[in-house]
């Protein structure tokens, strides 16, 4: 069982470019999440999805969009990247709020 996979592992991106971070889970979890991790700030929730077809905004959603067409995939899109979006991005999933969130290995994104 792979758990959660994220792609790419790392990326350097020019400001203004569009970028999609991919996240796939094979645990058939209902809920999925995207967080960004910045030094001194911990992890902050960007967007979440309680089930396929629904999404919600987290603490820092501006500049990001998500979709949840099926249970397994939860891509995060930066429509026009800016340097402040330089961060490490983690995808996570859980069966419900009462369950553990399992995290992917992360994507390190640098926007120049």
């Amino acid at each position: 069982i792979a758990g959660i996979t994220q792609a790419p592992t790392s990326q350097i991106l020019a400001a203004g470019r569009r970028m999609t971070l991919r996240c796939t889970q094979d645990m058939r979890h209902n809920a999925m999440y995207w967080y960004r991790q910045d030094l001194g700030l911990g992890l902050r929730l960007i967007h979440y999805s309680n089930t396929a077809g629904t999404t919600g905004k987290g603490e820092v959603p501006d500049g990001y969009s998500v979709s949840r067409a099926n249970t397994d995939d939860f891509p995060l899109t930066l429509a026009s990247a800016v340097p402040s979006q330089t961060s490490v991005y983690f995808c996570a999933s859980s069966d419900s709020i009462a369950d553990t969130q399992y995290f992917g290995p992360g994507t390190r994104l640098t926007v120049l």
């Binding site: 911990g42 983690f90 995290f103 992360g106």
Partner: protein, 116 residues
């Protein structure tokens, strides 16, 4: 909205000594509380969690945490640390809006340094 405070940014402990990492939360209902550990360059691994019942919960790697509602705290403890425990530790509380899971709110983390 919920919040989590980890008052200690860095903690240095000698190998073999005991450890306590502090966590205070703010949440309007009964909280779901978690401790995660992150080794350098790695993702997050769950150490333990509290949902209900016994307020002293046991986790992996010899860690335990105690939920104290009166103090809004969920401190992590280990009786004897090992050099491999050096990592970043995050306390988190789960949010729930009634429509489902809203994700975790994390503290800013405590960086644990182990002295030989």
């Amino acid at each position: 909205a919920q919040s989590v405070t980890q008052p200690d940014i860095h903690i240095t402990v000698s190998e073999g000594a005991s450890l306590e990492l502090r966590c205070n939360y703010s949440y309007g209902a009964t909280p779901y509380l978690f401790w995660y550990v992150q080794s350098p360059g790695q993702g997050l691994q769950l150490l333990l969690k509290y949902f209900s019942g016994d307020t002293l919960v046991q986790g992996i790697k010899g860690f335990e945490a105690e939920f104290k509602r009166s103090q809004s705290s969920f401190n992590l403890r280990k009786p004897s640390v090992h050099w491999s425990d050096a990592a970043e530790y995050f306390c988190a509380v789960a949010g729930y809006s009634g429509g489902g899971a809203d994700g975790l709110t994390f503290g800013k983390g405590t960086h644990l340094i182990i002295q030989p």
